[in-house]
Structure formats: C-alpha cells, structure tokens
C-alpha cells in the first residue's frame, strides 16, 4: 500500500465524521493510480453538480 495513501488516511481519521472524507480520498487515490491527475480531474468534474446539469 502506498505510504502517501496510508498517511493521508491516518490524518483524515483524526477528524470527526471522517468516513465520507476517507472514502472520497480513497476514490481520489484510486483514480490517481489509474490515470494520474487527469483521472482525478475527471472524478472531481463528475462530483461537481451545477444547477441545470442533466436537465
């Protein structure tokens, strides 16, 4: 397992209600491992929903 993945996860787990954040971080890392920052950017673009999207 990547040391960075682990280190960030540990840091996030110190906070309250960290599950969603840790989950998001794992998704970010998975995308990064698959396709560098372009993959992460795709993930972020997918999460970002604006009024009028998909109507």
């Amino acid at each position: 397992m990547s040391e960075l993945l682990e280190a960030v996860e540990k840091l996030l787990q110190r906070e309250k209600d960290h599950d969603a954040t840790v989950n998001l971080w794992r998704r970010v890392w998975a995308r990064y491992e698959q396709g560098d920052t372009e993959g992460v950017q795709d993930l972020i673009d997918g999460l970002l929903i604006l009024p009028g999207d998909g109507e």
Binding site: M1, S2, E3, L4, A7, V8, L11, L12, E15, A20, T21, L24, W25, V28, Y32, G35, D36, T37, E38, G39, V40, Q41, I44, L47, L48, I49, L50, P51, G52
Partner: protein, 725 residues
C-alpha cells in the same frame, strides 16, 4: 528481512518496446551488472521496460501514462504490441512477472502458482513488498529525476526534490483538488433557488393585479360579488341559452337549444361564445320580420320600377298615335287614299295606251312620207306626169304637229301622273308602319298592365287607374317596411344585448374565475418551489460538504507530504551526508541539509550546504554547488533513501550516475558502486568510458555481468555479455 530473503533481478526479456523493435533478453543471474554504450543505443529502454513490466506505468509527471502507446512503441514498430518479462530469484525460488500489452494481461508466477490481473498485482506487492512509488524512490534512479535539481526555477527544483523523495503525488493531487468550484456551485444552487422564489413572488404579484383588474371589469359589466364563481357563471350561461332559444322562437327561426359550457375553461367558454354568435347570426338573417322586410322592400322597388316603366310606355304609345295622326293628315282629304291610288294607277295606264297609239300614228306618217318622197319625181308611164306635192305638205304638217305637240304633252302628263302615284304609295306605306308601331306599343302597355295587376294582386286594372294604383301600392308597402324595420331594429338590439352578455361572461366573469384558479395553482407551485428550494439547499450543502472534504484532503496531503518527506530525509540523512563527503569532496562546505518548508498551499524545501557544526555558514546549494556536485549529492541522497527503505528487493538500478562529474568524483562514484555491489545487486547504465574504466579498475566487472551495447539498428547490439563466475 535477511539479504538472502530478498529478491534479485534474474533476467529481463523485452519485445517491441521503445528501443527494442524485436526481442532482447538480458540474463543478470541475480548479479550486479554494467550496461554501457554510447548515447541512443537503448540503455534506458531496459530501465523503462523493468518499470513498465512491474507496474504498467511510469512516475506521474515524468512520462505519459495516458495514451502512451505511442511512447511504448518501438521506432518503426507496431503500436500496442509491447511485452516484457522480468524474473527475480531468491534462495532457489523464482518469481516471474509478465506484462503483454497486445493481450492486455498481467501475469505473475511463483513456483507452480500463476495469477493474473488484480490478483497478480496483489501478489506482486505481497511478494516484493513494494509499490511503484517506493520502487522509483528506492530502487530505480532515473537521470531525469536528478536533472531537475540543477534547474534555475525554485519551483522546478522543489518538484525535483519531491520526485527524489517520492512525494510528488501529494503536491500533484493538492494542485488538482480545488475547493472553489464546489463553493461556487453551492452559491449557484442557492442563487438559483432564490431566483426561482423571486420569480414566483413577482408572478404572484402580477396574477393578483390581473385578478383585481378582472374583478373591476366584471363589476363594470354589471356583475356582482355573488356572480364571481362558477355556479353563478353556469347559471348565467343557462339563462343565455334560454334567451337565445326564446329569441329564435319569437322570430320563427327553427333552432336547436345550445349547450352551456360544462366547466370553467377558456376553451369551453370560447367555443360557447362562438356558437352563440353563430346562432345569433342565423336568427338575424332568418328572422321572419327580416325576411318580410326584404321582400316588402323588393316589392316597393318593383312597384317604383313598374311605375316608371308604365309612364314611359304610355308616353311611347301617345307618341305613336301622334305620328299616325300626322301621317294621315298628309294624305288627300277627298276619298280614301287607297281609292285615290287606284284611280291614279288607271289614269297612268290609259295615258300610256294613248301615247302608244300616238306613237304608232307618228310612225305611220313618217313611213308614208318616206314612201312619198320616192314617188315625188316619177312620171306616170301612162300620162307621163304625177303631182303629189299637196299630199307631201299635209304629211309634213301632221308629223310636225305630232312631234312638237300632242306627243310631248302626253308624255308630260304621264310623268305627272306617275309622280303623284309614287308619292301617294310612299305615304300609305309609312302610315301602315306607324300604325303597326302603335299596335306594338299598345300591346306592351297591355302586358305591363297585366303584370301590375298581378303584382297588386287584382284581376284587371283599367289603364286610367294603373298609375294611381301603383302609387297607392308603393305607399302601403313603404308603410309596411317602416313597421318591419322597427321590428328588425328591435331584434338587432336584442341580439346585441345577448352577444354582449356572452362576451362579458367569457371576457369578465370567466376571466375572474380563471385568474382565481391560476392564483390557486400558483400557490401550489409555490409549495413545489419551496420543495425545490429545499432540494437546491441540499445540493448546496452537498457541494459545500464536498468542498469541505476536499479541503481536508488538501490539508492532509500537505501534512502527509511534509511528514513523509521529513521522515525520509531524516532516515536517509546519515548515509547521504557520508556519501556527500565522499562524492562531492567540497573544500569548504562539508555538510548539506534538505528541510521541508510548509506553506499555505504547498510544501517547499530549503536545500543548503554549510560548514559542519556552523549553521551560520549555510548557503543555498544551487548557488554554491556545481552541476556535477549536485548530481553526486543526489546520488548520495538516493542511496541513503534506498538503504533506509524496507521492501523485498535487494537491488538498485542507477541510470547514468556520473553526469557532469569530474574525474575525481567519477572515481569516488566507481568506488561506491563497487562497494554497493559487494552487498547488493546494483545495475548501472552509463555511456561514460572513464567511469567504466574506474569500475573495472576497482573490480566491478569481477562482481558483475558486463553488457557492452556497441550500436543500435532498431535493436541494441550487445557485443559482450559476460557473467563472471
């Protein structure tokens, strides 16, 4: 983990990859190795193939990981056909890894156990105990990661240190994870909800104003508050239906009863108004008073026309009579003209006969005179003399009398008689024609009289009374018309009243009811908008939540980067310092230090050299060290990092460690490599002949395999590959 429990590189086999167009195998047998040859002969291909076969990609920001088929394909070779096989060995065990781009497979094999894809990935990590980032940081030193330390821009040097320490992912992710778009999205969601509410409020105000206006109009049209509902409107519609039906009956227009609208909709009301309008038009055109008025007006017009025509015909007839009388007056007054003509004809005949007789006599006399002229000079054969002169004179006298008197007079008389006869005949013809014309006009007058009698509905009318009866008839009919016109006007007024009522019901009363319903719907829409607003607020909160989570990840990334970089530098520091002294051999700055420098949005570094034990001598390394000294320092840091890391590989792969190094540094580097080769497997690739000489001098080739790549012609041409016993 003991050294013999760690894995060493046994062999690598490459096909259709970068500098290898065909197939190339290198057998390391777990020993150290030297790959040397000039630039561009395919040395780096081997390091890249090792990296790609193990992990299927390259460190972020160094080589393209998306769409890198072009990058992998050999010059002139097929895209997507690369494959690599790497085998490691330890204590009689073999662990082989194979990646095939064309088949899209990743396979590992250990003993008799073979695994594929995700399971193979897990197995690789379990067996070798290393991920890509650690591999790059502690096993494979690529020259590109050293070069960045020599760049002029601080940002680029910081990135190079990130790469050297294996923390570039943290900074890359920090850069790409942005919070602002999510906070902006939250603002937009709230803005859109607010805007929808404001629009709804404005629409509500407009509807209210429209409703009040409609109520005012309804009152102006005579409706009361009690009328402003569907029940009342429905009753009004029923009354309207009755009014239309009653009007039709009263005016003797056959019509079916209309149906009142069954619901308060604009479409129903419009249809009903159209039907009422159509029905009223029918009544207007087919009402008996209207029909009779039209007929009576026509009768008046007819009588007026006939009166004019009658007067004209009477006049024509009188004129004809005058002409006949005039012609008759021009005839001789004694006896009938026909008898006079007959007498004249007889006289002409007698005069002609008389003239004919006179002509015959004249001819006889002239013939006798001619015959006498022949005998005038002849003598009697008996007596010898004859005297006819007295006869000749008598003939002459009689002929003369006839030709100049009786005949001329007789012809003159005949001419006079003929002229008289002709004139009389012409006058008689004219008189006959005039009489015929008078008869024609009289006949027309008689027929007209019959028509008038028929129109006036009497059996017969004497000529003297026709005019008077026509005048009386016209007067009577005009009076009837006046009465009918009043009736038609009254009908028109009733029709107008009903039509206005229908229009008012639709335009005023229905509008009020519809507006009220619209307001009711609008209020329901308001509830929906409130619901949607709650949804938008939820979305806004969701976006804020994501923004907040991303911000926490960003903070954690920088903290983790700082922590990992500091920790790795700390662990590598003793060995790195030792190697700095050995490889750099700086006359003044005997020590160096790299420390992290956390900032708001990044973690930077200070890379300084100093006199050991005297921090005040610290200087920025880039300003003090030469490029060669920086390379040597970087190799020292890499070795320090490699030796302080824990994983299952007992090997290093260093690409071109002597770039920019001077002779002494190369010698020191060669000694270090030989020293390392005594403890673990080290693969060195270089084009530096001097360095190779030093390596040989210090016995590297005795501990290692040597591959001399002499040239490249699509594939590296290895002229020597020795494995020392």
């Amino acid at each position: 983990m003991k050294p013999d429990e760690k894995w060493r590189l046994e062999a690598i086999s490459i096909r259709s990859f970068r500098g290898v167009a065909g197939e190339q195998s290198l057998d390391f047998g777990g020993r150290s190795a030297l790959l040397y040859g000039n630039n561009g002969v395919g040395k780096s291909t081997i390091a890249l193939a090792l990296q790609w076969t193990l992990f299927g990609k390259f460190p972020s920001g160094v080589l393209p990981n998306i769409g890198f088929k072009d990058f992998l394909a050999p010059v002139g070779g097929t895209k997507g056909a690369s494959s690599g096989e790497v085998s490691f060995g330890r204590a009689g065990q073999t662990f082989s890894i194979r990646r095939d781009e064309a088949a899209g497979t990743f396979t590992v094999k250990i003993g008799s156990k073979a695994l594929e894809d995700e399971e193979a990935e897990k197995q690789r990590e379990t067996v070798l105990g290393i991920d890509m980032e650690t591999f790059v940081r502690t096993v494979l030193l690529h020259q590109s990661r050293v070069r960045g330390l020599m760049l002029d821009e601080v940002k680029d040097r910081n990135h190079a240190i990130d790469m050297l320490l294996g923390v570039e992912a943290a900074q890359d992710l920090h850069n790409v994870l942005k919070v602002k778009p999510f906070l902006d999205a939250a603002i937009e969601w709230r803005g859109s909800a607010k805007s929808a509410q404001e629009n709804h409020r404005a629409q509500g105000d407009l509807l209210k104003r429209q409703y009040e206006h409609a109520v005012s109009q309804a009152r102006d049209s005579g409706f009361q508050n009690k009328d402003l509902n569907w029940t009342a409107l429905s009753a009004h519609y029923e009354k309207l239906v009755e009014a239309v039906h009653s009007l039709a009956n009263r005016h003797e227009v056959p019509a079916a009863k209309l149906s009142a609208p069954v619901s308060p909709t604009e479409a129903h009301a419009q249809r009903f108004t159209v039907k009422v309008s159509r029905e009223l038009n029918q009544i207007r055109s087919k009402a008996q008073s209207q029909v009779r008025l039209v007929q009576e007006k026509s009768r008046v017009q007819r009588m007026q026309g006939l009166l004019g025509e009658w007067d004209q015909k009477v006049n024509d007839r009188d004129e004809a009579q005058k002409l006949v009388s005039g012609a008759e007056a021009g005839l001789p007054s004694s006896g009938s003209p026909e008898k006079l003509l007959e007498d004249a004809t007889t006289k002409i005949k007698k005069q002609e006969e008389l003239l004919a007789n006179l002509g015959l006599t004249y001819k006889l006399l002239t013939d006798a005179r001619a015959a006498l002229a022949v005998q005038r000079d002849a003598k009697c054969p008996v007596c010898g003399s004859v005297d006819v002169s007295h006869l000749d004179r008598d003939l002459e006298s009689r002929i003369g009398s006839l030709s100049s008197g009786e005949l001329v007079e007789g012809q003159k008389l005949l001419g006079t008689l003929k002229q008289y006869g002709n004139e009389l005949k012409i006058k008689l013809d004219q008189l006959a024609q005039l009489k015929q014309g008078r008869v024609l006009v009289q006949n027309q007058l008689t027929r007209l009289s019959e028509q008038i009698a028929k129109l006036l509905e009497v059996h017969v009318i004497s000529e003297s009374k026709v005019r008077q009866r026509l005048l009386e008839g016209t007067k009577n009919s005009t009076a009837v018309c006046e009465g009918l016109e009043k009736s038609v006007e009254s009908l028109a007024s009733e029709i107008e009243e009903i039509a206005t009522k229908a229009t008012n019901l639709e335009g005023s009363l229905l509008t009020v009811i519809l507006k009220r319903e619209e307001i009711s719907r609008h209020e329901k829409d308001g509830e929906k908008i409130l619901h949607e607003h709650a949804g938008s607020e939820k979305k806004a909160e969701s976006m804020e939540g994501l923004g907040s989570r991303i911000e926490r990840i960003r903070i954690a990334l920088l903290e983790a980067k700082d922590h990992l970089a500091s920790d790795r530098l700390k662990r590598a520091r003793p060995r790195s310092l030792e190697l700095y002294e050995r490889l750099v051999r700086h006359p003044k700055f005997s020590s160096f230090d790299i420390t992290t420098k956390p900032r708001a949005k990044k973690v930077d570094y200070t890379f300084e050299v100093s006199v050991e034990g005297n921090p005040s001598t610290a200087r920025e390394a880039k300003l003090v060290l030469s490029d060669g000294q920086i390379t040597a320092t970087a190799v020292g840091i890499f070795v320090g990092l490699a030796e302080s890391a824990a994983h299952g590989l007992d090997m290093l792969f260093i690409d071109d460690p002597t770039q920019n190094l001077d002779q002494g540094a190369k010698e020191a580097m060669a000694k270090l490599m030989v020293e390392i080769a005594g403890r673990k497997q080290i693969v060195i690739s270089t084009h530096d002949e001097e360095f190779v000489s030093y390596l040989r001098e210090y016995g590297f080739d005795k501990k290692a395999s040597v591959f001399h790549i002499e040239s490249w012609n699509g594939n590296p041409k290895i002229v020597s590959g020795s494995k020392s016993p």
